[in-house]
Structure formats: structure tokens, C-alpha cells
């Protein structure tokens, strides 16, 4: 890709970017959210037409008209959110769009099965072509996505944040697979913002900031700090300096909590925990092990079927979100688009979303715009929300700034309890650093914090104590200062029961979502 420039109204998403990828190379593309990685890949995949520049394949310039064209030329993309159909089998998913047909439109699945098994065997893993995708673990689903690309004889494979959803063990496995793919002469473009992963897997690293290439590095001649600074454009603190905590009295106490999910399965089983004032309790676990339901039960969004939740000795089980808000409980939800924000509302309205009815934001049921605006101005400067004004829709902000908006709204008052559910999912280094810093400041001011995250690094970095959740139960607790990453990762994947056979595929009996 040579001199690629892509402009959108008001922004230059890609500014004269040149990227070359060699056969057999794993090339990492590193950059903050909004740096232009996705745009560049969309150009490569034929989803966006560049304003300037050209794409060369094997030395000759090509025009890619769309994804089908890209696939025909051997370029495949594995998206962060898998594009699989859960109720179809592995083989059916893989041939989707490229069906081998026999006679008058009958599918020839046998041929596909054989080819899939051959491919899997060649790259050293095992997969049942007739398994339904919904029964597979996330790691296996990702392998299906990769197989889908291989099935189409891909030469250039683009992976968009492939490890975001994986446990450390699964990540290792996928890395092994990627290396084998590279050895077979295929090129891999690996998009990530996890620095240590990039250092581990990449042969070469290209860093993009604000649409421009700001540097190219070889992994053995750089460091995490170097890369992070290149990415953000200033000095950054990679590990939140969480300092010593001074826990006070027990603030949140959960006793024998049972919660059912939407389908009536009990997904939180007899969970008990306590969080002291001025302490962060981190709950680590692979997504879908009941953390969502546990958090929802605590913050009043879901009825618990048994057990109790108390805050400073007061029973708060089943109280409404508004009552909890009044009791100084705040919650940063995992899915900011679904729960945290109203994207079609202005930044200002979102900042008062849970206190619009209180003075000074309204009096006697009539809203006071100037008070909301003043509050918005404060929050925007204090929480460094990058927005052209308080009146633009929240949906126009970048992910990091949207999350800062949620954080600003929830943090901007005295708190007894703060529940953080995946507070930095999908965010860039700069935003993560900021949000972690704010969380630690809250802890230091005496707030009890319950942190739930599938990002093990985040849990390790912030938590004073770490509990591991597996299939609805808390299976272990460790001290945050001495916790061992591999041990916790193993506990996340197996619950500590099948530790001896750590390779066994993770299949949830309760039909994971």
C-alpha cells in the first residue's frame, strides 16, 4: 500500500500511509482508536476507496472493488466480532458464500469437510466440521474464522484485535497458529493495541497516529514504553501506579447470591464477596461466566433469586437503580452503547442522564439547560473529554471519549460503591491510563470498588484483591500484589478443577451466549 490517503468530511483518516507486507511475515499495525487502522484495512478490503495512493499486489497496482474482490485476490479479514452464524455447523459457516454445489444446487458438504480437516491438520489443530458453532469456545470460533480465510486460499490475512476476547492460554494457541501460517508463506497483518503481544508475535511493527505512520520498529529493537509513546505521542505511564491501599470497614457485602439469566438458567450460584472502603476487588473471568448477571443484580438491574446485598450494613437487595444512585452507588457498564449512553443525545444530556431530575439541572420538573451546560463544561475539562462542544451527539465521539463521558458522569460525586464492568474495553492506551488513574483516585478517597473484567491485565493492574469467577461461582481469591498471571489465567479457563488437562476445550454446559 503506497501513499494511501483517505479523507472523510472534516478528518483525514489516512494521510499518505505506506505499508508493505512481505510474504511469510507477521506485520503488526499498532495505533490508538481512531488512529486510522480500521480505515486503512477497509481500504485494503475494498470497503473504502482511497482518495489518493495505490495498492500493489506482487508489484502490480490493483483496484479492489469490494470484499468479494479482495477475497478473490487472496486477502481475508477476521473481524474482532466474529461473523459466524451460531446455529450452523463449522463446515456450513466456512463454505458460506463460497458453497461447492453439485448438480442442481445441492450443497456438497463432504468435499468441504475433507478440505477443512486437511487444512486444520496441516496447521496443527483439530476441529469437528459438524459441530455447531454455538457450542464452541471463543478461541475455537476464532479458529473457524481463520479456517474460513484459509479455505479461500488466503495469502494476506488481516486480524483485527484477535486476542481481545481470549484467555492467555487461548492467546498462546492462536499465536502458535499464526506463526505456522506465516511459515507457510502467508502474510499476516495483526492489528492490536496490546503492546506486549505485538512485541511477542510480530516480525515488524508499524505505528500509526492520527492517520500518519509515525514509526516502524523491529520487536527486538524496541520496548513497550517506546511503542506506547510512539502511539500516543507523549510519555505514558504503562502500569497504573496504584500505590498502597488502606482498606477501611466492609462496605459492600454480598451473601449467597443467586441470579438467573434471561433464559432462566441460574448463572450466578451462591456468590459471596465483600469489598472494603478504599479497596478494589477485581473479578477475573472469561466473558459469559455470570459476571454480567452478578453486576446487574448488585446495581439493581436484575432481580436476584436468592441471597442478599448490603451496603454499609444496609440491605440494598433489589433496590432500583435510582435508589442506589441516591445511596451513592455508581456503575460503569460494560456496553457503553447499550447501557451507558444515549448516542443520539448530546454530550451534555448524557452527562446528566442519571441526575437530570435533581436541582440545579431541573426545578419543578422544568429542565435548566444552562445548569446542565455548566456541569458539562466542568466535566469536559476535568475528565478531558475531547469533543467540539457539549452539544454534539455522544455518538460522534470516539470510543475512548464516550467512555470518559460515562466515567465523568458516574465519578463526578462522592461515592460509597463504584462498580466497574469492563471499564476500558476496546479503548486505547491513553484513555485506559486516564480511566485507571481516576479509578485509583476514587479508591484512595475511600470508595469501595468492584471491578469486573475479562482483561486479565486490567484486573492484575488495579486490584487489591482478585477473585476468579468460573461458571457462576467464585472459585479462588488471591492477593492483588502477589497474584500470578498464569495461575489466574488457568483458573479463568478451567475453574481450577481440570487444571491437569488445561487443553480441554471449554464448553459451557449452560450453552454460553
Amino acid at each position: 500500500m503506497r501513499g494511501i490517503t483517505k479523507r472523510y468530511p472534516g478528518v483525514v483518516a489516512n494521510d499518505n500511509i505506506t505499508l508493505d507486507v512481505r510474504p511469510g511475515e507477521i506485520h503488526a499495525l499498532l495505533g490508538e482508536n481512531g488512529a486510522g487502522k480500521s480505515t486503512l484495512m477497509n481500504v485494503l478490503y475494498g470497503l473504502a476507496v482511497p482518495d489518493e495512493g495505490e495498492i500493489l499486489l506482487d508489484g502490480s497496482p490493483i483496484r479492489i472493488s469490494g470484499p468479494t474482490d479482495a477475497i478473490d485476490r487472496g486477502i481475508s479479514m477476521v473481524h474482532q466480532h466474529f461473523m459466524l452464524i451460531p446455529v450452523l455447523t463449522v463446515a456450513e459457516n466456512i463454505i458460506l458464500g463460497d458453497e461447492t454445489v453439485r448438480g442442481a444446487g445441492f450443497l456438497d458438504l463432504n468435499q468441504a469437510r475433507t478440505k477443512i480437516q486437511e487444512l486444520a491438520a496441516r496447521f496443527g489443530f483439530d476441529i469437528d466440521p459438524d459441530a455447531k458453532v454455538e457450542t464452541l469456545s471463543v478461541g475455537q470460533q476464532q479458529r473457524v474464522e481463520i479456517l474460513k480465510a484459509l479455505y479461500r486460499d488466503t495469502r494476506i490475512l488481516v486480524l483485527d484485535e484477535p486476542t481481545a476476547v481470549l484467555t492467555p492460554q487461548e492467546t498462546e494457541e492462536i499465536f502458535l497458529l499464526l506463526r505456522r501460517l506465516a511459515e507457510s508463506g502467508r502474510s499476516i497483518i495483526f492489528i492490536s493495541h496490546k503492546l506486549y503481544e505485538v512485541l511477542e508475535i510480530a516480525d515488524r511493527i508499524t505505528v500509526i497516529r492520527r492517520g500518519k505512520v509515525v514509526g516502524e520498529r523491529l520487536p527486538d529493537k524496541t520496548s513497550e514504553k517506546d511503542l506506547a509513546e510512539l502511539m500516543v505521542g507523549r510519555e505514558v505511564e504503562l502500569t497504573a501506579n496504584r500505590g498502597e491501599s488502606s482498606p477501611g470497614a466492609v462496605s459492600l457485602e454480598v451473601k449467597g447470591l443467586h441470579v438467573k439469566d434471561d433464559r432462566g438458567h441460574e448463572v450466578v450460584k451462591n456468590v459471596s464477596l465483600e469489598v472494603r472502603a478504599g479497596e478494589i476487588l477485581g473479578i477475573a473471568g472469561v466473558a459469559g461466566n455470570g459476571q454480567d448477571e452478578l453486576v446487574q443484580a448488585i446495581v439493581g438491574l436484575r432481580k436476584a433469586t436468592g441471597g442478599s446485598v448490603t451496603l454499609k450494613g444496609k440491605d440494598i437487595t433489589g433496590l432500583s437503580p435510582r435508589k442506589l444512585h441516591e445511596l451513592e452507588v455508581a456503575y460503569v457498564p460494560a456496553d457503553r452503547h447499550r447501557f451507558g449512553l444515549i448516542l443520539s443525545f448530546s454530550v451534555q444530556d448524557n452527562l446528566v442522564l442519571n441526575r437530570y431530575m435533581n436541582a440545579p439541572f431541573s426545578r419543578g420538573g422544568v429542565r435548566n439547560d444552562s445548569a446542565c451546560e455548566a456541569e458539562a463544561k466542568d466535566c469536559i475539562s476535568e475528565y478531558d473529554i475531547r469533543t467540539p462542544s457539549a452539544n454534539v451527539n455522544a455518538g460522534t465521539l470516539s470510543g475512548g471519549n464516550q467512555q470518559k463521558l460515562v466515567v465523568a458522569r458516574e465519578f463526578d460525586r462522592d461515592l460509597q460503591l463504584l462498580v466497574l464492568d469492563q471499564p476500558t474495553r476496546g479503548l486505547d492506551v491513553g484513555s485506559i491510563e486516564f480511566i485507571h488513574g481516576q479509578a485509583i483516585a476514587k479508591r484512595n478517597s475511600g470508595t469501595a470498588i468492584l471491578l469486573v473484567s475479562a482483561e486479565l491485565d486490567e484486573v492484575l493492574e488495579l486490584s487489591d484483591r482478585i477473585a476468579v469467577m468460573f461458571r457462576g461461582e467464585l472459585v479462588a481469591e488471591r492477593d492483588g500484589r502477589t497474584a500470578d498471571k498464569n495461575e489466574i489465567g488457568l483458573l479463568m479457563a478451567t475453574g481450577g478443577r481440570a487444571a491437569a488437562q488445561g487443553d480441554e476445550p471449554f464448553v459451557d454446559i449452560d450453552d454460553p451466549a
Binding site: Y8, L301, P321, R322, G340, S344, L353, S389
Partner: protein
């Protein structure tokens, strides 16, 4: 990438561009139909000036004379109120197809109440009749709202069904309990005290004023009151609203009741202002026209008022168009339908006309798409 601050002018452009385009295209389609149908008549020559004469007559009939202007206002008033009801529901993410039933039952209730308090003088009878119409309309909105909130029954389905029930209920009431004694026809007695005073012209009743006053009131409700903030929030994202401490179920029920109340008021003012009685075969298209009005007005009170005025003009001018240009009055229905089609197809319009920075969809049609198939609100 709306990275720059938008001025008021930008906002008006972005809100109005699509509706105006839809109206313009509908007029073109209408012109083609006028020419084509006139050419089909035996021995007719193709007359390319006919559309201009037809639209000219439509315009003259609605605004060209004092009577025409009053007639426009009379036609506009119920469309404003019912349109506001539908628009309010859209803001809460609800598609209220039930304005028709709410309109009819509201009208019936107003007449029934007016008959009951006959002889008590206008200062008692008018408020009582209006209140009765609003309450019954609100009940007819409450039912689908409650069902949506607490059982997840989709309001499109329930309001359509309630339209039929309302029609049947109205016919039974008028031919049974409310029937004018010893009348051979199924009609109610004529109200005297509850009849609305005439302000202007032959039939320019006070209800017109009430309809126009409702516009700033609903605007104030939606954009200045916390209740309106909650309604819009629930419409835009029920999950986030619930998490922020609002009560989507209650709000959905309340909004549908308010919507029903407004449509009921539309019916009430119409019969108290014009007919002064109901008959079992009373027909109207207001309940459905108001859907197009709300969509064309983007659910914004001011937009709804403008759209209602346009439709009111078309209704008022149709007669003169038929007389002067010989184009059937039904052309107006065609124009309304084509406008609706272009509005619903707005993503296509945006593409074809390369509109940038124009609001996508209608806000409301997006909401519709999202609410379809939604499970029960928690």
C-alpha cells in the same frame, strides 16, 4: 464526523431537506399521474399545463379566499392534534397506529357527555365534553401502552386491533344507548351547549385555536420538562434509560395514554366544532393521515404543525381542483401516499440525491425498525 458546531441554520436544513424533497418528488409524481390519466380519456389530447392548473387550483382553493383559508385551518386542526399524539409516541420509540380508534371513541365520548349535560350552559358543557373525549382517548391509548410495557405485546398489532374494536364499539353505542330517541337513523342527538363557538368564517371553531396552542405545549413537554427528557431517552435507548434510573414501563404506558389523549382531543374538537353529533357511519381518515403528518414533521411539534398545514391545504383545496381542472379530488390521497413512500425510502433518497449532513432516516423510522421484534421492556 460532525466535528464542527452546527448552527441553527444547519440544523433546520438537515431537518427539512428530506421532507421538502419528498414533497417535491410527490408533486412531480402527481403531475405525471395527472397527465397520464387525462391522456387516457377518449379523444383527449395530452395537456402538459394541466398539472400546473390542478396545483394552482389546489393552492387557490386552500389559500386563495377567506373561506378557503378557514377551511384549511379546520382541516388542519385535527391533523395537528392527532399528529402530535403519534409524534409523541414516536419519540418514546412507539408506533401508534391507533390514532384512528382514539379519535373516533374520543369524538363519541365527547358527544355522549355533551348530550348528558345538555342544558347546563356552554361554560359547563364544553369543558365536560372535551374532558370526556380526552379521557376516553387516553384510555384507548393506555391499553396498548400497558400491554406493551407489561407483556411486550407490540403496539402496532394491538393498536390496529383496537381500531377495529373502537369502530365496532362506536357503531354499537350510536345505534344503541346513545341513539337519538325515535330516530330512524343511527345518530346521536345534536349537542347545543357543548358546541364550540365559531371564531372566524362559517365554521372556524375555537378548536382550531386549541390545536395550535397544543403545539408549544407539547414542545415544552418534550424539550423543557424532565418528563419529556425521560420520554425521549426511553425512545432512544430504553436500556440506558433504565440503567440511569428511569422507569421505561411507566413511561411507555404514560406516553401512549398521552398520545391517545391528543388523538381523542382531535376527534372531540372536530365533532364539537363541526358536526355537533355522531352517526354510526361516521368516517374519517385523520387517524391515518396523521401518521404521515408525524413522519413528515419528523415528530417535532413544529414540523408536525407545518406538515398538518400542508395536508390541511390539500384537503381544503381538493374540491376547487376538481371543479376547475377536472382532476379528481382523490389526487390528494395519492400525493399523501407518495410523500409517505418517499419518506420511508429516505435512505434511497439520500443516496440518489447525495445529501450530506442531512438527518438519516426519519429518526422515527429508525425507531420503528428498532422496536420491531423487541422483547418486553424490562
Amino acid at each position: 464526523m460532525g466535528d464542527r458546531v452546527r448552527t441553527f441554520g444547519d440544523q433546520v436544513y438537515s431537518a427539512m431537506a428530506l421532507p421538502l424533497l419528498a414533497i417535491g418528488l410527490a408533486l412531480i409524481v402527481g403531475a405525471i399521474v395527472i397527465i397520464a390519466t387525462s391522456a387516457l380519456e377518449p379523444g383527449a389530447e395530452i395537456d402538459f399545463t394541466l398539472p400546473f392548473r390542478a396545483y394552482g387550483a389546489l393552492f387557490e382553493g386552500s389559500l386563495g379566499s377567506p373561506n378557503g383559508r378557514v377551511s384549511t385551518l379546520v382541516q388542519t386542526a385535527p391533523l395537528i392534534l392527532a399528529g402530535l399524539g403519534i409524534g409523541l409516541a414516536f419519540k418514546a420509540g412507539l408506533f401508534n397506529i391507533g390514532a384512528q380508534g382514539q379519535f373516533l371513541l374520543g369524538a363519541t365520548a365527547a358527544i355522549a357527555a355533551g348530550v348528558a349535560v345538555e342544558g347546563s350552559g356552554p361554560f359547563v358543557a364544553i369543558p365536560v365534553a372535551i374532558a370526556a373525549g380526552m379521557v376516553v382517548g387516553a384510555i384507548w391509548g393506555f391499553i396498548p401502552g400497558f400491554l406493551k410495557a407489561f407483556s411486550g405485546a407490540h403496539e402496532v398489532v394491538t393498536t390496529i386491533m383496537l381500531n377495529f374494536i373502537a369502530l365496532a364499539l362506536m357503531s354499537w353505542l350510536i345505534s344503541g344507548p346513545l341513539r337519538l330517541p325515535r330516530s330512524p337513523q343511527p345518530v346521536t342527538p345534536t349537542v347545543e351547549d357543548a358546541a364550540l363557538p365559531i371564531m372566524i368564517g362559517r365554521d372556524g371553531h375555537v378548536g382550531i385555536l386549541i390545536a395550535f396552542i397544543a403545539v408549544p405545549i407539547i414542545w415544552f413537554l418534550l424539550y423543557r420538562l424532565t418528563l419529556g427528557f425521560e420520554i425521549r431517552a426511553v425512545g432512544a435507548n430504553p436500556e440506558a434509560s433504565r440503567y440511569a434510573g428511569m422507569k421505561p414501563k411507566r413511561l411507555v404506558t404514560l406516553t401512549m395514554s398521552l398520545a391517545g389523549m391528543l388523538a381523542g382531543l382531535a376527534g372531540t374538537l372536530n365533532v364539537l366544532g363541526i358536526n355537533h353529533q355522531m352517526n354510526a357511519t361516521f368516517t374519517t381518515t385523520v387517524g391515518f393521515d396523521a401518521i404521515t403528518v408525524a413522519l413528515l414533521g419528523r415528530s417535532h411539534p413544529v414540523g408536525i404543525m407545518l406538515a398538518a398545514l400542508l395536508f390541511g391545504m390539500m384537503r381544503a383545496g381538493a374540491g376547487l381542483m376538481q371543479i376547475q381542472a377536472g382532476v379528481p379530488a382523490e389526487l390528494v390521497d395519492l400525493l399523501q401516499a407518495v410523500i409517505l413512500l418517499f419518506l420511508v425510502a429516505s435512505p434511497v433518497l439520500r443516496r440518489v440525491f447525495r445529501l450530506r449532513g442531512v438527518k438519516s432516516g426519519l429518526g422515527t423510522t429508525d425507531t420503528m425498525a428498532r422496536t420491531y421484534g423487541n422483547e418486553a421492556i424490562r
